[in-house]
Symmetry: C2
């Protein structure tokens, strides 16, 4: 072969290779688009499910229950069959083999979709259905057992629920304890060991702090909270605050329901609350809490609508957004410097003889109590830690269901110094979670507190005069910081990566302990 011919062959070889590369790129991108469009359909159908739940809890007539059950079952069946379809696995496998041809956002999406798909594929449909059936039965028994404070009637149902959850954990796989597989649903990559470590740190700081507060001569005067605060004015105030802190009223709603929640995605994010005319702090901080969740959803990047990049990174991170607004911001003096005049204007009679300092102390009042959902900011985590430790020991085999009430009561005394008078609403049967198989869920609540404090200090580092801004009613920088560092990231990074990037250090309990100590030392003059 002469040189010219050889060159020509080389050249044509290059062209061929270039063409192949272009073809592969085109193929990879079209496979990726197919993956995304399938995932997006699941997201959209998931948002319909969210709306059906919102409707059920706010406006659905009582006789709609059966139809609603059929609607939810039909949708969940469709989503499950879509995500477990063989084509989904083919697409992921093919794309994983060409990872290098995807950009980093695309790689992140692929990683997260594979995560969801793996979980869905691993659990056999018959187990999903058995859990769903047992949940209904178990929930019904729980409602009665709770009302009658009769743990023994609930015990065999709980026993069975735990064994179903163990089966689920076996299918999902885990390195340490079966509980790890369940925790992973809510907090990817976190384990029982993660929480044991974090919670031991929190206990070490909280328990002595709690003792000091209880010994402090400072006592909050709270009687004025029991005066009359008309519901429509509570709502008006709540809506004022929502709007001021950044909730987009054109892309969401505030309604009333028995159990407050936030539902929806970009464009339509709805929160609910309930009003107690003799306890305005409940709806008020409830609204701010749910607004925190809503701001996360409203803050997602519309360019990534329907993909993991417009979804929350974990349950705990979602909770960090609600807690940050509810506790770190809205229970602080700077916040009330801004909103106190408006509050007094709306409730002139009830607050005529109250000073802002009294109000702030009252809404931060620390008092060990029996019921988690009524707990104050400081003791809340102790309720969670108790539940987590019980779950951990149930799944490691250290604790049996029959010992649950005794262990519950013993830990209540040890951590909170209170003794449940019964096993019902004020005792071991108080929460709905276990009756529905939600083991491994509780820790996310405290992880929310921990992450919120760490994000808060990082924000204050980046925006040194942020508390002055808050006091003047300018919340845009807080929101902008959260948008950039949390909301618009979606599931681009894992929770731990996201925390590292946003705060410059790994997720840990130190900032949270520091925050609680600083805050309550000041309030209670410790």
């Amino acid at each position: 072969m002469d040189q010219a011919a050889e060159n020509s062959t080389i050249l044509s070889g290059c062209i061929t290779h270039h063409q192949e590369w272009v073809d592969i790129m085109k193929d990879v991108q079209s496979l990726y688009q197919e993956l995304i469009s399938k995932y997006k359909e699941c997201s959209v159908l998931g948002s319909v499910t969210g709306l059906l739940h919102w409707d059920m809890q706010t406006v659905m007539p009582p006789k709609g229950t059966e139809l609603r059950g059929e609607q939810l079952a039909a949708l969940s069946g469709i989503v499950h069959s879509r995500i477990t379809a063989p084509r989904m696995d083919e697409l992921l496998t093919e794309l994983e083999a060409h990872r290098g041809e995807l950009d980093s956002d695309q790689q992140a999406c692929m990683r997260e979709i594979r995560r969801d798909q793996k979980r869905a594929v691993r659990i056999p449909q018959e187990l999903v259905e058995e859990i769903s059936r047992h949940s209904s039965a178990c929930h019904e028994v729980w409602v009665k057992a709770r009302a009658n404070a009769d743990f023994s009637s609930f015990a065999p149902y709980l026993e069975k629920m735990i064994s179903l959850m163990r089966r689920q954990a076996e299918y999902l796989g885990y390195a340490g304890t079966p509980l790890d597989a369940l925790i992973d649903q809510f907090e990817p990559d976190a384990t029982a060991a993660t929480f044991t470590r974090l919670f031991d740190e929190i206990k070490a700081a909280n328990l002595p702090l709690l003792r000091k507060i209880l010994d402090s001569p400072v006592k909050a005067e709270r009687r004025f909270l029991e005066r009359e605060y008309p519901a429509d004015r509570q709502k008006q105030f709540g809506e004022d605050v929502m709007r001021r802190i950044g909730f987009d009223g054109d892309g969401g709603r505030l309604d009333t329901s028995v159990h407050p929640f936030c539902a929806g995605i970009l464009g339509d994010v709805r929160i609910t609350t309930r009003y107690n005319v003799n306890a305005p702090q409940q709806a008020l901080f409830g609204i701010i809490h749910e607004t925190g969740h809503a701001l996360y959803e409203q803050g997602m990047d519309p360019a990534h609508f329907g993909t993991p990049l417009a979804e929350a990174v974990s349950y705990g991170l979602h909770e960090s957004q609600s807690r940050l607004w509810e506790n770190l911001i809205a229970r602080s003096m700077p916040f009330w410097k801004c909103f106190w005049p408006r509050l007094k204007e709306l409730f002139p009679a009830a607050l005529s003889d109250v000073a802002v300092e009294q109000w702030v102390l009252a809404v931060n009042h620390v008092q060990p109590s029996l019921v988690r959902v009524e707990a104050d900011e400081l003791t809340y985590d102790l309720h969670i830690i108790l539940r987590f430790e019980i779950e951990r020991d149930l799944f490691s085999g250290k604790l049996s269901v029959s010992d649950l009430p005794r262990t519950w009561n013993r830990k209540m005394e040890e951590y909170l110094g209170v003794t449940p008078p019964n096993d019902g609403k004020e005792g071991v049967l108080q929460d709905v979670h276990w009756s529905g198989g939600s083991f491994g869920y509780f820790p996310s609540y405290s992880l929310g507190n921990i992450a919120a404090a760490q994000l808060w200090y990082a924000m204050r580092r980046d925006l040194p005069d942020i508390e002055r801004k808050i006091a003047s009613g300018a919340f845009d920088q807080v929101l902008a910081w959260l948008r950039t560092n949390v909301h618009r990231q979606g599931r681009r990074y894992t929770r731990d990566e996201l925390m590292q990037r946003a705060t410059g250090k790994p997720l840990g309990a130190a900032d949270y302990s520091r925050y609680l100590t600083e805050k309550f030392s000041a309030l209670y003059k410790l």
Copy 2:
């Protein structure tokens, strides 16, 4: 073969045959169950679509539009793919071959499911999508054209919509004119010829009656309707009436929306209205109208939930239920004998100097006008007939789009004696229907009036003292009669069979003409 052996063989042959027969029966029944469960899933998903529409028109925040569009598109795609799936056709074909082994209800279900499936299969997906895309564009242009009373800007879009509808008609098939295929979507087995015949009868009776009324010395005094009727009291009255006539408040709701409608199925049937404080009759009769629709849905047989036997037989029959309650019952003197005291109690100022006879005459006032949705009971059909005749002539080729405004105005003058001042809100562009491709829909409104009158006379034949019952506030017999003869039949019979069974004669306009003549002769002392 000896006799015993032969007998044994015969016997065993019988057993074998019997076994085969049992197997076929079992097979047929299990195929039937598979068919029903597939259809039911579509019904349930359809009810989700209904809820999304309800939500969109009552509570959805403005920025939810895009997400809602995605949700609706995803659901309609799923339902379409389910109903057109090859397995659906297989099941129907197999079952049709064993029709004799199904009972009559099952045969009716199969017939109706095949009807729906055939329609869905015949229209290619690309045409569905093209119509959907063009509808959006066409609707947008219509909104502007209507506001500017500029028919010429709308004409090319309407032209294209008609040609798309012609294509759809070709796919669906028809015996007479392409419009027949479109009418069949709303009124199975009815054709343009059916409506030409019915409407010619109505015109022959209505037009002379209208002349006589306009010449009558009796004039309704209506100024008191423009006084102030607070919206919350209108709602209260509406809810009273709904409950009294049989609406199950535990299985439905009343809300507010710009365009009133009824949505939902068994267990959750929601109606809407809008309130005009200076025109209480609008919300009041609107609520009763929608309640008539709701009673049909609430009256379906729960044992057949999700099947054609718990679905309305046609659009016109649905409309007969709303018109029967709104016009034949609620605009009658017996009805107001019952509700007048309550109405005066709620609006003491506005009605202080009004007698019940004045009220009844006022809410039955006949006055030719330009706008269909504001038309009185008598002239309403003339608006419909005009539209139907235009559609008929457009699709038969007798009328071109460019001639539409002239023909519209000429017919308005001929039938109603009024001249539209423009082509916009008061003229040819007033209705939304054509911009969305809903040709063949209008006649169902008048068919509702016709069927309502025929059902009403049959009910009075069966329950001779029903007007006395109504005057005393006892509506249970009316509802029971409708339940038995209409609601609980679902799609068991065709519309024409159902009317024959309920009234003892084929559907015809005679009773309707008789009803209008009797009613308005009495009111206007003709």
